[in-house]
């Protein structure tokens, strides 16, 4: 059963929310029931896919084991960096093996949701090391990893925020607020994904440049397809994210949002503050931050600007690779990395920008340029650019 797609999911969700609502209104903690419900939904998710289910079990046992091991070391005061590195490698390994295996068309250790559960597990390992997580019960950890609502494709939550919500109780008005928001989010998300997303996808007809038409025509058609895909992806993914949020809210977990009107962004840096926010923030907090901090401590770069630029390239390069080890995704990631670096340099160094950055006309121009760059990046991501380039090379 796919989450948020098939009627059986929504019917079972509606049924599952009832006990959660009872607990919520009664001012009781929902987490124990939420955990049981999550186990049920995950068993439905894996359905007939035994191989995936076993890979999933393996990951959970592995992540749980090394995390407890690391946490014990920190609680004792030992704070062994060796244990930290081993734990980190262990939780990253299954995803890496899966992505590398995919290059060779092998399905090794893969299971639905592996990419997102890895983020969660890594975050816990890192924050234990940073001393931000001083205590984490086994139950809370497992609930964080296994909570069904954002399991398949995010949004990527943070363990401390999650556990805070899981362990609290709500008054009746508070829960009523959550539940009504949750229902509305589910409805809005369903509308986004099933109606608007489908409509936009209808207009996405990627093809190589055809000799039958002029270059201008071909480019205009490609431009149309890029925009169609961009909006399709937005409605599809934002719709999913809204539904995941909605389902979470019904269980008392205020899963963070993933999208905030991304297409009004005036530059690509702002875009990533509005598009797939939980991913972008995760990478910022755990990759960009660590890189910039190391670079600053060890003085690898002369200027803060250079350091930030390299940071962007690494940060977004990793994002591209995380999607998959294919030409399209890697180019996509590094494209954004270089684009963000260039934007930063432009904004910091260009007098023209500094002079006009408050002018309305300038902001409009920036917006227009940004949305085109973004849609161009979408065409790389979707594989459309690949089709066109391949067509040009072979044609």
């Amino acid at each position: 059963m796919s989450f948020y797609l098939q009627p059986s999911f929504f019917i079972l969700l509606a049924v599952a929310v009832v006990p959660a609502a009872v607990l919520g209104f009664a001012g009781r903690r929902i987490k124990y029931y939420g955990f049981v419900a999550s186990l049920f939904f995950l068993s439905m998710l894996f359905g007939r896919d035994l191989q995936g289910f076993l890979a999933f079990l393996f990951f959970v046992v592995l992540a749980f084991g090394v995390t407890r091991w690391e946490l014990a070391s920190w609680k004792r005061g030992q704070k062994s960096m060796a244990k930290f590195y081993v734990s980190l490698a262990a939780v990253i390994a299954p995803l890496v093996i899966y992505k590398v295996g995919a290059v060779f068309d092998e399905n090794l250790l893969g299971f639905i949701g592996i990419s997102y559960i890895t983020f969660k597990a890594v975050q816990v390992v890192l924050e234990i090391r940073d001393g931000l997580i001083k205590e984490l019960s086994a139950f809370d950890y497992l609930y964080f990893l296994l909570f069904f609502a954002p399991f398949t494709s995010g949004p990527i939550d943070r363990s401390r925020r999650f556990s805070e919500d899981a362990n609290r109780t709500y008054t009746a008005p508070e829960y009523a607020d959550l539940l009504s928001r949750g229902i509305l989010l589910l409805l809005a998300g369903a509308c986004y994904q099933m109606v608007f997303g489908t409509i936009c996808h209808h207009f996405y007809t990627p093809e190589a440049f055809s000799a039958d038409h002029s270059l201008l025509y071909n480019m205009a058609a490609a431009w149309k397809d890029a925009f169609a895909y961009g909006f399709y992806l937005f409605f599809d993914f934002a719709g999913y994210s809204l539904m995941a949020m909605g389902a979470s809210y019904c269980f008392g977990i205020r899963t963070p949002r993933n999208f905030r009107a991304p297409f009004i962004a005036k530059d690509v840096k702002e875009f990533w503050d509005r598009w797939h926010m939980t991913l972008s923030f995760w990478l910022r907090d755990f990759v960009f931050m660590r890189f910039v901090r190391s670079a600053t401590r060890h003085k690898w770069f002369k200027s803060r600007l250079t350091c930030a630029c390299v940071g962007y390239i690494i940060d977004f390069g990793l994002m591209g690779v995380w999607h998959g080890i294919t030409v399209d995704y890697i180019v996509y990631g590094f494209f954004y990395g270089f684009l963000l670096a260039a934007t930063d340099i432009y904004q910091k160094k260009c007098p023209f920008h500094k002079k006009h950055k408050k002018d309305t006309w300038y902001k409009l121009v920036c917006w227009a340029v940004t949305i085109n760059l973004v849609m161009f990046a979408m065409s790389i991501f979707s594989g459309q650019a690949h089709i066109i380039v391949a067509g040009l090379i072979h044609g």
Binding site: D130, L132, K269, D285, F288, M289, K348
Partner: protein, 83 residues
């Protein structure tokens, strides 16, 4: 290190990261809303704080509302540095 020193060096840091001298005057505006800081720049600020004052503030440690103006930033550093 005194509070005045912290204030002075923080302002220098912020002016450089935001690339705008306005931080010296407007101490209470929301730097994110004003477009002076974005998420990535915020990281640079945190790293700069660590470098200058030896105060480690993880990005997920503090809520944005608590560190989005010049005065609030200074306050967070002071609280940790002089604790």
């Amino acid at each position: 290190m005194t509070e005045e020193e912290i204030e002075k060096r923080t302002l220098e840091l912020l002016a450089e990261v935001c690339d705008d001298e306005v931080v010296y005057e407007e101490r209470d505006i929301d730097l994110f809303e004003a477009g002076l800081l974005d998420s990535m720049a915020a990281i640079e600020v945190l790293v700069g704080i660590e470098e200058a004052f030896g105060v480690e503030i993880a990005p997920t440690e503090v809520e944005r509302e608590e560190m989005n103006s010049v005065n609030k930033i200074i306050h967070q550093i002071v609280v940790r540095a002089l604790a």
